[in-house]
Structure formats: structure tokens, C-alpha cells
Amino acid sequence: MDQQAIIRSIIVSSPEIIVILGACLLLFVALMKNKHQMTILTGLSLAIILLAATVTAVLSSAPQSAYGGIFVVDGFANFFKAVFYLATALTLLMSGRYVVEEGIAEGEYHALILFALSGMMIMASGRDLLVIYMGLELQALSFYVLAGYLRRDPKSNEAALKYVILGAVSSGIFLYGLSLVYGLTGTTELTGIAVALSANEPPGLAFALAILFLITGLVFKVGAVPFHMWVPDVYEGAPTPITAYLSVASKAAAFAIVLRIFLDALAPAADIWIDAIIAIAVLTMALGSFVALVQSNIKRMLAYSSISHAGFALLGIVAGGPDGVASVMLYLLIYAFMNLGIFAVVVMMRSGEVRGDQIEDFTGLATDHPVWALLTLIFLFSLAGIPPTAGFFAKFYILMALVQEGYVALAVIAVLLSAVAAFFYIRIVMLMYMSPPTRRFDLALTPSLRLALIVAGVGTIGIGLAPGWFLDQALGAGFAETLAFAGGVSP
């Protein structure tokens, strides 16, 4: 690598560098205690994100690669980075008063959030299994700490411990699968793997085993059945803004690498894994939808809801092709808006003595606070997939991709399960609107939380009414141009 190439590589990867350096800067600033510390740290973090986003926007003019092709900045990566920036910014906005009230307003909080962000960005940009793994671990380690941030809360401790143990095991499994792939193909680079796969004989048993390991590791990160058990516990125990962040950004990052690995590197071997993914998707949707019905804690309910959404998004991977990829990407963007919105509502309910994480706590909200109840209603109906909200279009586009590839039966199963899922979302609407309030609401509304709610609301309605532009972005950003074997997934 000559000097020019190194400089170019640094420029191409500068958003990640900015975020990492920014996180280090936050660690220093956090040492200087003063009473406006929270505001300063939040402002600084947002400024760092804004700077990184600007650089990403500048770099997005053309696909570029760095470090000898193991790190790319293509439309696909940039789309995901936009989702991560959005999720991180909204998470920071909704954190303010919550972390103060929970007594966890310390500097590392912001730094860890930014480290997680940089890890996810690397995941989206990696075109080499090792780079992807590095990003994966960086964000996972940050999230392990963040999940246990409520140090005096046993549930939070439990969440962190469960997450770290299960996460480490799954990372190990993923790494093992990765090593098998390397052993079989002689490379960790995604295009190289695809070339090796399509050049050789049909992949044998050893390769099936490698794929099994990779699927296991990735399914864990996505939170799909049968490796979903950690999700409800971690979501319930973690601080609510972190749960929101985890459910949106971390999931999107996991999907980014699933898309890259399965629809790029492993596309030639689709016969081996496609049935497994179909089974996982259906089971995940079914389990998430049915178990969510009986939850009384809203964070647990949203955990199962996120499991079921992960199952729905996996269907886009089953569909494959440009539309399949774009449908998953769009789904994750829309999911980011609506899910961050509903978690911002949960944060809003957390005030003083009221933890606000029971579904009953929403009883009668509409009587006293019609505007915020209406916003909550929009998020819930969007999660349920009712038009004209964005959640409908997200599901609709995945259905289109599925039917296009001939998976009509799968589409029918998917819509029937989302009818089941609608039940637990509208149960909350029912409590808000149709029952008299049992207590006085003291909502933890700060200006920044209001902003987060409004941004999420505008996104949820806006994409629903005018999905065209976002669809074009996702389709244009899909790795059609970089995809080695696009369309090879279709059976």
C-alpha cells in the first residue's frame, strides 16, 4: 500500500474515525464535572454525529473502497449509516432526563453510545468477514455495558450478564463458522468467497456446517427464534433509551451483515440456507406475535414485537434480489422511526415514582394528553402495519418482493401473523382511549424528548404518505451494483 492509498483509505473511512475520536473526546469532557454536563455531552455527541453524517453525505457521491477492498463505502453502507445516525441521535435526545432520574448520568454513557455507533458503521461497511466481526464485537461490547447501566437494578444486572454470556457464545459460534469458511474457500473477503463457491463443485457437508454456524451467530444478533431468549430479558432490564437503541440500531446492523453475507458472499449456496431462513422467519414471526399477546410489561411486549418484526424482515432476505434487499433496508429505516417513537413514549411515561413500563400505565392517557396519545396511536398502528402509516408500506414492500419470487403461501402466513400482532398493539390504544384514567399523568416531557417524538412521528407518517423517495434511495443503494451474484438467490 503506497502512501496515497493509505490517505485515500483514511478519507474513505473518516466517518468512523470521527465517531471514534469523538467518543474519546467525550471521555475527557466527562471528567470535567459541572452542572450542565448532560446538556454539554448530549450536544457534543449530536455535533459529532452531525459531522460524521455530513462526511458520509460527501462521500456518498460514488462507491469507494479502502484498505485493499475490505472496507467499502457504497450506497448500501451509507443507507445503513443514515439509519444508525438517526437512531443514535434520537436515542441521545430521549436519554436526557431519563438518565438523570435513574442516576446514571455519567460520561461513559455517551461515549459508549458512540463506540457502539462506530462498531455498527464498520459492520455496514465491511466487505471482509474479519472486519465485519471486528465491528460486531465493538458494538456488542458497548451494548453489554450499556445494558447493565442501571447498576443498582437487579434486572439491569441480569440483562447485562445474560447478554454478555449469550452474546459471547454466539460470537464464538459465528467466529467458528467464519474460520470454517476461510478453511474451505481460502479467503475471508466476501467477493472471494462468492467466487470460490460458484467456481467449485456443489458445496459439501463441511460447508453446510459452516453456514449453520454463521446462521446461528447471526440469528442470535438479529434476535430470531430459536436464539431469541435473551431479547425480552435484555430489553426489559436495560435502560429504556438503550433498549430503544438496541432494538433499532443493533438490529439494523445485524441485518446489514446478514444481507451482505447471505445475499452477497453466500448467494451461490442459497439452496443450502434458504429453507433454514424460511423456517426461522416463520417461527420467529409466530413466536413473537403470540407471546407478545400475554405480556403485561410494555418493554417485554415490545421485545416480542421486535422479535416478530425481525421475522418479517427475514422474509425480505428469503425473497432476495434487488427488491428483496431494498425491502429489508426500507423496513429497517421505517422500523427505526416507529420503534424509536414508541420507546420515546415509554421514556415519556417514566417520571418520578412511576416507572411507566407496565401496559396498564397507559390507561386513560388520551383523556389528559390527547396529542401525545395520538402520536402513540400512530406509532402503534404503524407497528401493526395499518395504512397510511409507514409501517404498512414496509410490510407491503416485503410482501411484494416475496410474491414476485413466488412465495405466495409465505406471504399469506406473514399477513395472518401480523393480524395476530395487531391485537396487542391495539390493546394499548384501547387502554389509552377507551378507559378512564386511573391516575394523574406527569409526563417526563423535556424539549429534547418532544423533539425526538416529533421527528419519529413525522418520519412514521411522512414515509407512509410519500414512500416513493425513500424507496428509490433503498433501491438505488441496494448493492445491485456491487452485488456479485444478484438474483442468484431466487430458487
Binding site: L399, V403, V415, F423
Partner: protein, 488 residues
């Protein structure tokens, strides 16, 4: 050429009233403003009906704009001789609903009127949409305001009823959605309804899509055995909710058959016609017997709706001109008559707070004007000559006899049952000795209520004696439809 976007104006005028509603204070002002918006919308719809060229089966007042071009989704609206009638009916019932809720709704008036206005826009959109995606968005989004209307302002069991309504219709609609997507790919990647009509799908595709559509529409109509949500929803909904349900929502299922199943899937429609006809016949008789056994006024009318809508689906699937004309006219009539009957139950319920038939008696002597009109609409409901119901039912019956004698016999039995339960209702409620209800006797209808009743009564008589203008408007479109179904 840029034409005046009359349809868009009609569709979106109600929802445009919502921001205005936020500005006014006081429940009375909210009511008046909503009424003004609805009446303005009605006047526009009347203009639309008058300006409509009834001699052509083509879509008129078309508007086309790209929405999601990448997927071939457009904002396309237009009306033909079928939908223009329902746009008019919806706009008419819109302001009647506001009048019906004037004093009946006294809590969270602003939210209620907002729901009504949003609902109005979505219903009008359903009848005007010429793009399947657009249609689906309107169709499905209706669930939300209707769910809220039933669930917030409904009766004692409103939450259960709202849930049931929501989940039944949602489950049906989602299958419809998959059907839409399948049609999209089979029909050349377009959601344009007119373009999809011209396609020749294979029989297997037609059959599956027909079944998916059947579930969605059968839930909405509702056809036996998907009707169980209806009595619950009707009984618990506030008066305006019942009027919307009976007057407009039930029509949408039948409209779906007319607009999609018959013209797009003609072979499957003919193949499955015996099934639909059998279900219709069952609905007519079963709904009639159920109505005969009811003690609750609203339940009685709800089950009579099941029976009447059975006539509609029966007429649709006879595939002859009489049956189709009768079915569409009967859809219109049912909207007027049953809407009116629910209005009347609402009026008396406001005064007495009971819906049990045995609590009433001799209303003729207490509230003569009320009873006079109740009698008129009851006669219309049982299809006495000289009322709108007679014309529609006669056409359906002749259509039924034209296709199958046994079918006609069953339909006649249903018509007799209709007379039986409505006469029983009149005898027990209006005639006989006076039954004391509460401490003070109910007072007769006032001017506001009369304003809501009279236009409906006008249509009952008008269609009863001179249905030609209505038949003329829908005639060419139905002839065109018949050609599409039968292929000649």
C-alpha cells in the same frame, strides 16, 4: 388539460376540516363547523351527480398523478355509474351522522367529530379510487377511526365489539392485500384498476385471488358465516357509527365484488357463483329468522341487514341485468333505509335509554310524527310497493328467478320473513297499549331531527315511485360490467 379536481375536493374536504376544528372552542361551534363541512361536501357530491354523464360507462372526473412511480402506484381517482351513487350516498349520510350525534355525543365532541371527518374522507376515497394500492390504503385506514368511534363512544360492551370489528376486518383485508399483490404481478406490474380489468389471468390465479377477495369482502358485507362481528358492532356503536356501518361500510364489501371480483376474475366468479349464491340464500333466510327472534331493537336491524345484504350478493352473482341492477339499487336503498332505521333507534334511545322491544308500546299515541316516519322506513325495509325497497327487491327477485327457480323461492321466503319481523317490530313498538317508559314520556322529533329524517324519506318515496333516474345512471356501467363478466 387541467380540469377542476372535483373528486379530490370531495374526498379531502372533510379531512381538511380537521385543522379548522382544532381552532374553534366549544362543543357547539365544533358541531356547527363539522356540519358545515359535511354539508359543503354533500353539495359538491350533488354537483358531481348532476354533472355526471349517465349515458357512458366510462370512468369520469378522472384525476391521475404519480405517487410511487417505481412500483406503478398512482393517485388515480374517478367515478362510474356505480361509484357515483355511493359517493352521493356517503356524502348524504355524512351530515346526517353529524345531526344524529348532535346531542347524543356529549363527551370529547371534538375528537368524535374529527373521527367522523376522517372516516368520511376515507370512505369517499374507497369509492373513488382507481388504483388498487390507493384503494387498499383508504379501505384499511378506515379501520382506525371506526375502531375509535365504536370503542370510545359506544355502549357497555364497546371494547369487545371494537376489538372484534377490528380483528375480523383486518384479517380479511390482509388476505385481500396478498391477492392485490398477486394480481399486480400477474397483470403486468400495475395497480391501475382499469388496466387490471383488461387482463386475462389463468384460471388457477383467478380462483385463488377470488377466494382471497371473497374472505375480505364477505367479512365486510357481511356474509354468513363471517357476520358475527356485525351485531356486536352495531349494538355497541353510537348512532352515527351504526349509520356509517350500515349505510356505507357494508356497501363496500358488495362494491368490492362489483369493482374487482366480477370484472377482474370473471371465470372464477362464475365458477364460485354457486357458492356465493348459496351463502347469500343462507344469509337471507338465516338473517331473517335471527331478526325475528331479537329483543333488542338494534340487533333486530343488524340481523335484518345480514338478510338484506344477502339479497345484494344474490343479485350480483345471478349475472343478469335485472339481478345486477337490483343489487346495486338495493345497496343504495339499504344505505338509506337501514341508515334511517338506526337513526330512529338512536333518537328514541336518547330519550328512553332502552333498546328492549318489550319496553315500548303505543308509541303512535305518544310520538306520532316519529312513529309515522318509523313506519315509512319499516315499510321500505320490508319492500312494500311504493317504497324504494320494493323496486330493488323486485329486480333482484326477477334476477334470481331468471337464473334458478329454487333460488328465487328462497329469496321470496326471505322477503316474507322481512315483512314478518318488521311488522312484529311495528306492532309491538308503535301500536297497542301505551307502555310507560321512565318518568316522563319521550317527546316527539324536533326540527334538527326532522332535518335529518326528511331527505332520507324523500329518497324512499322517490326511488319507490320513479327509480328511472337512478337506474339510468348505473345502467350503462352495469351493462359494461356484464359484458366483462360474461365475455360477450
Amino acid at each position: 388539460m387541467p380540469e377542476f379536481p372535483l373528486l379530490s375536493l370531495i374526498i379531502f374536504l372533510p379531512v381538511a376540516g380537521v385543522p379548522l376544528l382544532m381552532l374553534v372552542r366549544g362543543d357547539t361551534a365544533v358541531r356547527w363547523l363539522t356540519l358545515a363541512v359535511m354539508v359543503a361536501d354533500f353539495l359538491l357530491a350533488t354537483w358531481l351527480l348532476l354533472a355526471f354523464d349517465g349515458s357512458s360507462p366510462a370512468m369520469q372526473f378522472r384525476e391521475d398523478a404519480d405517487w410511487i412511480p417505481r412500483l406503478g402506484i398512482a393517485y388515480a381517482v374517478g367515478v362510474d355509474g356505480i361509484s357515483v351513487l355511493f359517493v352521493f350516498l356517503t356524502a348524504l349520510l355524512g351530515w346526517i351522522c353529524v345531526l344524529a350525534s348532535w346531542t347524543a355525543i356529549d363527551t370529547r365532541v371534538k375528537s368524535f367529530m374529527t373521527s367522523l371527518l376522517v372516516m368520511q374522507t376515507l370512505m369517499l376515497g374507497v369509492f373513488c379510487a382507481l388504483d388498487l394500492f390507493l384503494f387498499y390504503v383508504f379501505w384499511e385506514a378506515m379501520l382506525v377511526p371506526m375502531y375509535v368511534i365504536i370503542g370510545v363512544w359506544g355502549g357497555k360492551n364497546r371494547i369487545y365489539a371494537a376489538f372484534k370489528f377490528f380483528l375480523y376486518t383486518l384479517a380479511g383485508s390482509l388476505l385481500f392485500l396478498v391477492g392485490i399483490v398477486v394480481l399486480y404481478f400477474e397483470g403486468g406490474e400495475t395497480f391501475d384498476i382499469l388496466a387490471l380489468m383488461g387482463q386475462d389471468y389463468g384460471f388457477t390465479v383467478q380462483a385463488w385471488v377470488f377466494l382471497a377477495f371473497l374472505v375480505a369482502f364477505a367479512v365486510k358485507v357481511p356474509m354468513v358465516p363471517f357476520h358475527t362481528w356485525l351485531p356486536d358492532a352495531h349494538v355497541e356503536a353510537p348512532t352515527a357509527g351504526s349509520i356509517i356501518l350500515a349505510g356505507v361500510l357494508l356497501k363496500m364489501g358488495a362494491y368490492g365484488f362489483l369493482r374487482f371480483s366480477l370484472p377482474m376474475l370473471p371465470e372464477a366468479s362464475q365458477y364460485f357463483a354457486p357458492l356465493v349464491l348459496a351463502l347469500s340464500a343462507i344469509a337471507i333466510v338465516y338473517g331473517g329468522f335471527l331478526a325475528l327472534a331479537q329483543e333488542d331493537l338494534k340487533k333486530l336491524i343488524a340481523y335484518s341487514s345480514v338478510s338484506h345484504m344477502g339479497f345484494v350478493t344474490l343479485g350480483l352473482f345471478t349475472f343478469n341485468a335485472n339481478g345486477l341492477n337490483g343489487a346495486v339499487l338495493q345497496m343504495f336503498n339499504h344505505g338509506i333505509t337501514t341508515g334511517a332505521l338506526f337513526l330512529f333507534i338512536g333518537l328514541i334511545y336518547e330519550r328512553t335509554h332502552t333498546r328492549r322491544i318489550s319496553d315500548y308500546g303505543g308509541l303512535m299515541k305518544i310520538v306520532p310524527i316519529y312513529t309515522l316516519f318509523l313506519g315509512l322506513f319499516s315499510l321500505a325495509s320490508m319492500a312494500v310497493p311504493g317504497t324504494n325497497g320494493f323496486v330493488g327487491e323486485l329486480l333482484v327477485l326477477s334476477g334470481a328467478f331468471g337464473s334458478n327457480m329454487a333460488l328465487g323461492a328462497v329469496a321470496i321466503l326471505g322477503a316474507m320473513l322481512g315483512a314478518a319481523y318488521m311488522l312484529r317490530l311495528i306492532r309491538r313498538v308503535a301500536l297497542g297499549p301505551v307502555v310507560e317508559i321512565g318518568t316522563q314520556p319521550p317527546w316527539d322529533v324536533n326540527g334538527r331531527e326532522l332535518a335529518a329524517i326528511l331527505p332520507l324519506a324523500v329518497f324512499v318515496i322517490w326511488v319507490g315511485f320513479y327509480p328511472t333516474p337512478f337506474l339510468d345512471v348505473m345502467g350503462p356501467s352495469l351493462d359494461h360490467l356484464l359484458i366483462q363478466v360474461l365475455g360477450r
